[in-house]
């Protein structure tokens, strides 16, 4: 793969910010962690909604599933989960650092794998639906998951569950989790960048543009759809596991399956940046997060109104997003050009000269 100088500079700047961020702005470590998770949200939503044209409103399912799976594994490492949740607060988890980190590691792996299993199961069901029915169907699955977990006493039901505490100072904990969020977001970006450069990328784009045509051309559409869904699920599951530990306390409706906040944010961020592009979701998530935090700070009380207005504006007037708009304005920058050469022979001759 070849990179231009501008690209190298861009990547270097993002990585430098990613590494130095929590040290330059220690007060904002958690905010920055959430920013990387938001970027991951937008990227993984875009795999489904932008690249494949399946507007999932239920991707938050995997975030919540990963969060619960990770918490259960962490607690079950040395304790009885049912006893822990039924005596809320009475049982204190006391882990040595070694126990803590090994249980967390196992929990995050289980979160990723478990979410993939969920995606395989639900994929069979929801991929029978198309267009708006898919959006509503996935929304229903996510809402139902939140409600179901709320009645499941093993994991504390609606009362929630507290995850083991980080063994050390709170600020050290924040920094530690920041350095889980940041590499995870980068890993998902690199993985998706690679994935989109393979046949997989074109296949899901083809499904987005005309699924019936893709079928008529013999593309294994279901395989690709399930794969796209499981890819989203894997990264979302792990991010959920980490986020549960950042918050420290998991409860089904507001933290694990926040369908109307995070679940909608991932769609809006991807649209804002430019869906169906690689950098769009990154850009959209960053801009959105900045706007959101600014309104929370300076317009407290009106923050939801401001955010709602922003969402309406994006959905109605700015559907193509920042990068989509740029591509319309400067198509030649995106390689959309008429070639002067009339044949491949011409091009080869020209390249040789």
């Amino acid at each position: 793969m070849k990179f231009s100088q501008a690209q190298v500079a861009g990547y270097a700047a993002v990585l430098a910010f990613g590494i130095a961020g929590p040290f330059l702005f220690p007060a904002y470590t958690i905010q920055l962690s959430v920013l990387w998770i938001m970027i991951l949200f937008a990227l993984t939503w875009d795999t489904m909604g932008g690249q494949m044209g399946y507007n999932s409103l239920g991707n938050i399912l995997f975030f919540g599933a990963g969060m619960y799976i990770c918490a259960i594994v962490q607690i079950a490492w040395a304790y009885d989960v049912a006893a822990y949740t039924s005596h809320a607060g009475a049982v204190k988890i006391d882990y040595t650092p070694e126990q803590y980190f090994s249980s967390l590691g196992a929990g995050l792996v289980a979160a990723g794998v478990g979410s993939v299993v969920f995606a395989l199961i639900f994929g069979r069901i929801v991929f029978g639906l198309r267009g708006p029915y898919f959006a509503i169907g996935t929304l229903g699955v996510a809402l139902a998951a939140g409600e179901l977990v709320g009645t499941w006493d093993y994991v504390g039901g609606g009362g929630g569950i507290t995850v083991p505490f980080y063994p050390g100072e709170a600020t050290a904990g924040s920094t530690f989790f920041y350095f889980l969020c940041f590499p995870l977001a980068v890993a998902s970006f690199i993985f998706l960048k690679w994935l989109y450069s393979t046949r997989f990328g074109l296949a899901i784009n083809a499904i987005r543009d005309d699924e019936e045509k893709a079928e008529a051309m013999g593309i294994h559409t279901l395989r690709y759809k399930v794969l796209a869904w499981t890819t989203s699920a894997f990264f979302l599951g792990i991010s959920g596991g980490i986020f549960g530990n950042i918050v420290g306390f998991i409860e089904p409706l507001e933290v694990a399956f926040p369908t109307v906040t995070f679940g909608i944010f991932m769609v809006v961020m991807s649209l804002l940046g430019g869906k169906g592009t690689l950098w769009g979701p990154v850009l959209g998530a960053t801009v959105f997060h900045l706007i959101k935090e600014t309104t929370w700070t300076y317009m407290l009380g009106w923050q939801w109104v401001a955010l709602g207005a922003l969402i309406i504006i994006i959905v109605i007037f700015f559907q193509q997003g920042i990068l989509g708009w740029a591509q319309e304005k400067w198509p030649e920058k995106f390689g959309i050009v008429v070639d002067e050469d009339t044949s491949a022979e011409d091009s080869r001759r020209e390249a040789a000269e």
């Binding site: 784009n205 019936e212 045509k213 079928e215 013999g218 008429v338 050469d341 009339t342 044949s343």
Partner: protein, 252 residues
């Protein structure tokens, strides 16, 4: 000479409307076969029945001797039986080269192929086919921005990219600028002769189909009305009557 597609007693009804009524016909290998008939005579329904778009009510469809009437669209396409659409269908937000690349055959696609990059040979073949249909210069443009005729040519090139055994073309010249039609006919014939693709073509443009096809079937009201070489079909009174709605008027 072997038969590529054998259709035997195919019937398909939508509610009370029998779109295909006990149709039996063959498409011989390596030839160009035509399918004509007035609007609503069941031509596209027959195409849909062949490619597995909907289940047929009775009868059998065999492709290279293999019964395919129980298979669905993608499975049949992977066997090498491909169709193009009456309303041109391309991947409208992707550029022409990408449209071509994803149109490669998925016949033996393994898991590794799903994550493979396109080899320079495949890209070269895509560009050569785009050049073949005269779209090389526009290969980096978003295909949805092309004119209707160009989209039709792209769809044809995509079908060739798939290296099908048989290509079912649903009105390939409809909506194409008359001056380009001759070029298209020439390309269809060359695809048939040079690439060995068997063609089965629905066409309303009589001079085109008479020029193109070696054998023509005519449908009317869901039934097979007549068949034969172009010269015979052209003179067949039943065909003339069917096209003119049963009124025996003189053609000027």
């Amino acid at each position: 000479m072997s038969e590529m597609i054998e259709i035997e007693g195919v019937t398909k009804a939508f509610g009370g409307i029998v779109a295909n009524d006990n149709i039996t016909l063959d498409v011989p290998e390596g030839r160009i076969t035509g399918l004509i008939g007035p609007n609503g005579s069941g031509k596209t329904t027959l195409f849909n029945s062949i490619v597995g778009y909907h289940p047929i009510d009775s009868g059998s469809v065999r492709f290279e001797g293999k019964e395919i009437s129980k298979l669905r669209v993608p499975g049949i396409a992977r066997l090498g039986l491909l169709r193009t659409f009456q309303q041109t269908r391309i991947y409208s937000k992707m550029d022409c080269v990408h449209n071509m690349l994803i149109s490669v055959s998925h016949r033996h696609e393994g898991v590794r192929d799903m994550f493979s990059k396109y080899s320079p040979e495949v890209t070269e073949r895509a560009e050569a086919l785009l050049e073949y249909v005269g779209l090389y210069q526009k290969r980096r443009l978003i295909s949805g921005d092309l004119s209707f005729g160009q989209q039709k040519l792209l769809e044809f090139a995509m079908a060739l990219m798939n290296e099908p055994r048989v290509l079912l073309l649903d009105e390939p010249t409809a909506g194409i600028n008359p001056t380009l039609i001759n070029g298209l006919i020439d390309r269809l014939k060359r695809a048939n002769q040079e690439m060995g693709v068997t063609l089965f073509v629905i066409e309303h443009n009589m001079p085109v189909i008479m020029n193109l096809a070696e054998h023509i079937y005519c449908l009317a009201n869901g039934r097979l009305l007549a068949e034969g070489p172009p010269e015979k079909i052209q003179k067949d009174q039943r065909v003339i009557d069917a096209y003119l709605g049963g009124h025996s008027l003189e053609l000027h």
